[in-house]
């Protein structure tokens, strides 16, 4: 990696290991780097411990999505999903456990996979990407069992409502679709077309939805429109957050909402609609935010974006240090 390559690197995805001691990050060159959090957070950490313990090329195209199961790390490249065993990765072996491709209709351009989530109840993997469809794969068998069609433009983000087993998807077309099934292979959907509502819309940016998050009855969505908190049952926005850029990822954390997007800062917002704080960070715009909640020792928040550096926040109010590719 020469300095020019590092200059043009973007981090698109992150995922913590099941034990919470390692962080995997994917960049636009198709590489995945594994960092040791325990080394980086230890008192005698040095410059070298902020470098990855393992850095390998996983895919041809950018790695837009990373997901960790209990044993594996799933990465999405150009139209393919690869699984890597965490145990193997920690031992620095870079052999993929398996690689699967959902079936695509077009062959001219391979669509990317932008989002992956896991349905723990029936152990299935739900992916959404550039071909405007949501594919569902059974984790045990590896067969793509169903395709959810409905979006008119590519899918940016997915999230899963555990209680009702419903999938929410947001896409470039500006729609948030809720996919639920009472029966296994049948899919009902309810569209949530409130994006035209004046409160959140920002026509100067566009109408795409690039981030979704749910917390039982509440849903966060944002992108071209401002980040807004919706009450799902009434399908109406309760608060709109006055954040200047387009948000790319938002999460619920305790009683805060944390979101990242355009602009070199992490925004802390309250449910009421106020922006509590904007914490500055090194990349000039952020793509991904991850919270390490599995491990109490290494409870950190990491953000990555248009830079080869990943900022680590030990106390969520300020940037502690940066890991770099």
């Amino acid at each position: 990696m020469g300095p020019v390559e590092l200059l043009h690197m973007s981090v698109f995805s992150q995922s913590f290991s099941p034990c919470g001691r390692f962080l995997a990050a994917g960049n636009n060159y198709g590489e995945i780097a594994v960092f040791s959090l325990s080394a980086a957070l230890s008192p005698d950490a040095s410059q070298a411990s902020q470098k990855p313990i393992l850095n390998f090329t996983a895919h041809d195209g950018p790695v837009f999505s990373l997901l960790s199961t209990d044993t594996h790390l799933l990465s999405a490249g150009n139209g393919e999903i690869s699984a890597w065993s965490w145990a193997e990765l920690i031992k620095k072996s870079t052999k993929a456990a398996w690689t699967r491709k959902p079936s695509y209709e077009t062959s001219l351009e391979i669509p990317e996979i932008n989002a992956m989530i896991i349905n723990p109840k029936d152990n299935s993997l739900i992916v959404g990407g550039g071909d405007n469809n949501i594919h569902i794969m059974d984790m045990e068998t590896g067969i793509f069992k169903s395709v959810l069609k409905g979006h008119t433009d590519y899918i940016h983000c997915l999230c899963f409502k555990e209680r009702e087993e419903e999938i929410l998807s947001g896409g470039e077309d500006g729609a948030v679709r809720i996919w639920g099934h009472t029966e296994i292979l049948l899919s009902h959907f309810q569209t949530c077309s409130g994006m035209a509502s004046q409160e959140c819309a920002r026509p100067q940016f566009g109408k795409w939805i690039s981030c979704l998050a749910t917390d039982s009855d509440w849903m966060l969505c944002g992108g071209g429109p401002s980040l807004s908190l919706w009450h799902l049952r009434s399908m109406s926005p309760t608060s709109v957050f006055p954040l200047p850029g387009c948000q790319r990822e938002a999460v619920f954390y305790q009683d805060l909402i944390m979101s990242v997007g355009e602009g070199p800062h992490v925004s802390h917002c309250l449910h009421g609609g106020t922006v509590k704080a904007q914490i500055p960070c090194t990349p000039s715009s952020l793509n991904t935010l991850a919270l390490n909640l599995k491990n109490t020792e290494h409870r950190v928040m990491t953000v990555g974006g248009s830079s080869h550096q990943i900022d680590v926040f030990t106390n969520f109010s300020y940037r502690a240090f940066s890991l770099s590719f």
Binding site: V4, F12, E109, R248, S306
Partner: protein, 687 residues
């Protein structure tokens, strides 16, 4: 006389004897046989012992008489009484006896003394004789020993040994019948023989001398003859010069060069040899053409160089004389100030060797890179100055001013070889002594001390990394790099002149990289200084990443389409095209965006900065910059045409209608535009 003495004695004897009753003499003066009273004869007859007894008796009698007189006088007798007179007469008689005895004693004494004296005299005479004899004996002994020790001169002559002598000498001289017995004769004979031999040899010597003289004369004659030939040969050489040129075998020139090359300092000599060898081996197309790719020649003052290598004794003599003169002058002249002295020391330290090497490197298109190599004697480093001469006239490109500047032309030929500091670590100490802080101040005068120049001259200074480079192993690589550098700079020069006229020169081989229709156009191409560049806001990320150096060249390109204006700040490394130029973008269209604020502009930057294999074009890669600029124009087209939103909220016709064929206008979480052009299908896709 003796008779007078006897006569005188006689009266005396007579008078003295008058008092004694025993003497009676007949007084007869003039009588010869008078009876002489010789008291001395009497003396011999008397016995000293008796005389002594007599003396004692007389003294006793006298004492007794005196006592009697005394008695008488004390008895009251009158003075002149008969007894007293009697006694007085007796006393007087005793007195006379005493007197005689005294006399006799004296005479005995005298006699004794005379006898002693006589004996002594006799002894003395004998003693003297003895001494004389002894002395003579000693003298004779000395003479004898001297004679015995005498070394005759003849012993110093080395004589032939006896056997040889008897063998060689003729019989008259050796006379064996005599000499075998008589050593003296033998020695004489040998001496004779020696003398004869020496005479003979002297004769021979004289003859040899005469011969030698004759031969000397003959040699002289022949020498004169040879020297008369020399001008004739010179004429022939001169006449052959045109022939040499015609046949292009410049023997004379090469000889002269070799002659001068002997006075070159070692590093320059190594460089010359290697350069000439390389030029011979690789440069020529045909052995009879003079048109070499690489040619080396020596220029400078040969006499001065000879003066430098003159042996020190001569210069010392000169110095001692000149010192004496200078001392006289110095008393009149004021001593130079400290500053001037320091200046002189500095000049001395930075002195160049009077000879320098000129290497000409020709490129295929006819332009020539002239390299002048100098050797700094006290610092033991080589420096180089450059000059470019081209076949076509290069003008019109304002921004290209720096490209062929001789100061910076050879910067960073090898990475980080700036040529501003001396590569020899010992120079640091020398500089400290004369107060030179950096060598960079003198670089424009003395030339650049690049590391590759030192290596070509075989000078190796221990520096970072293990280097086993020698002149030979570096020559080829360096020459290739130099050629490449010159070609690249000339190509850039040409490209810049057309860029300044807003034409992006794309060669036929690179047309496939771009779509047929490119609407955005380059409107401005200017050069910037390092200062101006670092003040731009949108290049700070490059500065922070450490990809800028003062030795780089900086340019500003402006690409426009309609109301949109794209500013591109370009950093060109001196080692272009080995190192890709780096673009940083800032778009002025409905606001200002840069690569930092907008992901799509960042994607455009990476599209232009990163794909070297595609963009460099055919082999030497000299099309790199122009291809990059053209790609930038294409990307701007795509960006503007796919930007569907109208930012100020109003609806209306789009300023830039979609003309490019794209499959998808956005992809991925950051919604990047398709900047990759696919040939020959002609559509744009995402990377």
């Amino acid at each position: 006389m003796s008779s007078d003495a006897v006569k005188k004695r006689k009266p005396k004897v007579i008078r003295n004897e008058a008092g004694t009753p025993e003497t009676k003499r007949g007084r007869a003066e003039g009588e010869q046989d008078v009876l002489v009273y010789n008291e001395e004869v009497e003396l011999e007859g008397r016995d000293p012992q008796q005389d002594y007894m007599l003396y004692k008796d007389t003294c006793a009698a006298l004492a007794k008489l005196m006592a009697e007189i005394q008695e008488l006088k004390s008895g009251g007798a009158k003075v002149g009484s008969v007894e007293m007179e009697e006694r007085r007469r007796q006393c007087s008689v005793h007195f006379i006896t005493l007197k005689k005895l005294n006399r006799l004693a004296h005479m005995r004494l005298k006699k004794g003394r005379d006898q002693t004296h006589e004996a002594k005299q006799r002894v003395d005479v004998l003693h003297l004789q003895l001494q004389n004899l002894l002395y003579e004996v000693m003298h004779l002994q000395k003479e004898i020993s001297k004679c015995l020790e005498f070394k005759s001169q003849h012993e110093e002559i080395e004589l032939v040994s006896e056997e040889e002598f008897f063998q060689e000498a003729p019989a008259e001289i050796s006379r064996p019948h005599v000499t075998r017995d008589d050593h003296h004769q033998l020695t004489l004979a040998r001496l004779d023989w020696e003398l004869e031999q020496r005479k003979r040899l002297a004769e021979q010597y004289k003859m040899s001398l005469a011969r030698k003289e004759k031969i000397h004369k003959a040699i002289e004659q022949k020498r004169e003859y040879l020297s008369s030939l020399q001008p004739g040969l010179q004429n022939i050489m001169q006449a052959s010069l045109p022939v040499q040129e015609c046949l292009s075998m410049p023997f004379e020139q090469m000889q002269k060069q070799a002659e001068v090359a002997r006075h070159l300092p070692p590093p320059l000599y190594v460089l010359l040899v290697q350069a000439a060898a390389y030029g011979q081996a690789c440069g020529k197309t045909h052995i009879f053409t003079l048109n070499k790719t690489l040619s080396a020649s020596i220029s400078g003052d040969v006499d001065e160089a000879k003066a430098l290598s003159r042996p020190p004794e001569d210069s010392q003599d000169d110095e001692s004389d000149s010192d004496a003169e200078e001392e006289q002058q110095n008393t009149k002249r004021r001593r130079a100030s400290v500053g001037v002295q320091l200046d002189d020391k500095r000049k001395e330290m930075l002195r160049r060797h009077p000879l320098s090497l000129c290497v000409d490197l020709k490129c295929k298109d006819g332009s020539v890179l002239h390299l002048f190599f100098y050797y700094l004697m006290n610092l033991n480093i080589l420096t180089v100055k450059t000059k470019v001469s081209t076949t076509t006239d290069l003008s019109g490109a304002v921004s290209a001013g720096e490209l062929l500047n001789s100061e910076s032309l050879l910067n960073c030929l090898y990475a980080s070889d700036h040529g501003q500091e001396t590569p020899n670590p010992t120079n640091r100490y020398q500089f400290d002594k004369v107060g030179i802080t950096t060598f960079a101040d003198y670089v424009s005068d003395l030339g650049h001390p690049y590391v590759w120049v030192q290596k070509l001259g075989g000078l190796q200074f221990s520096s970072d990394g293990a280097q086993v480079a020698l002149s030979a192993s570096h020559m080829e690589r360096t020459m290739k790099l130099l050629q490449g550098r010159l070609q690249a700079r000339l190509a850039l020069h040409k490209q810049f002149s057309s860029l300044e006229h807003s034409i992006i020169p794309i060669s036929g081989e690179c047309q496939h990289l771009f779509p047929a229709k490119v609407v955005s156009g380059l409107t401005r191409w200017t050069m910037m200084s390092y200062q101006e560049f670092t003040e731009l806001g949108f290049v700070q990320h490059v500065l922070k990443a450490g990809l800028l150096r003062e030795t780089d060249l900086f340019f500003m390109a402006v690409v426009e389409r309609g109301t949109a204006r794209l500013l591109a700040a370009v950093v060109v490394n001196p080692r272009y095209p080995e190192v890709m130029p780096l673009f940083s973008l800032s778009l002025h269209w409905k606001g200002e965006r840069s690569g930092r604020t907008e992901d799509n502009l960042r994607a455009m930057e990476s599209e232009v900065n990163m794909f070297r294999a595609e963009l460099q074009g055919p082999r030497p890669g000299l099309q790199l910059l122009t291809n990059q600029i053209q790609r930038l124009c294409v990307c701007l087209d795509v960006y503007l045409e796919t930007e569907s939103q109208v930012c100020d909220g109003s609806e209306g016709p789009k300023e830039f209608p979609r003309e490019k064929m794209c499959l998808r206008t956005a992809r991925g979480p950051s919604r990047l535009k398709p900047f990759k052009y696919n040939h020959p299908q002609g559509f744009f896709s995402h990377r």
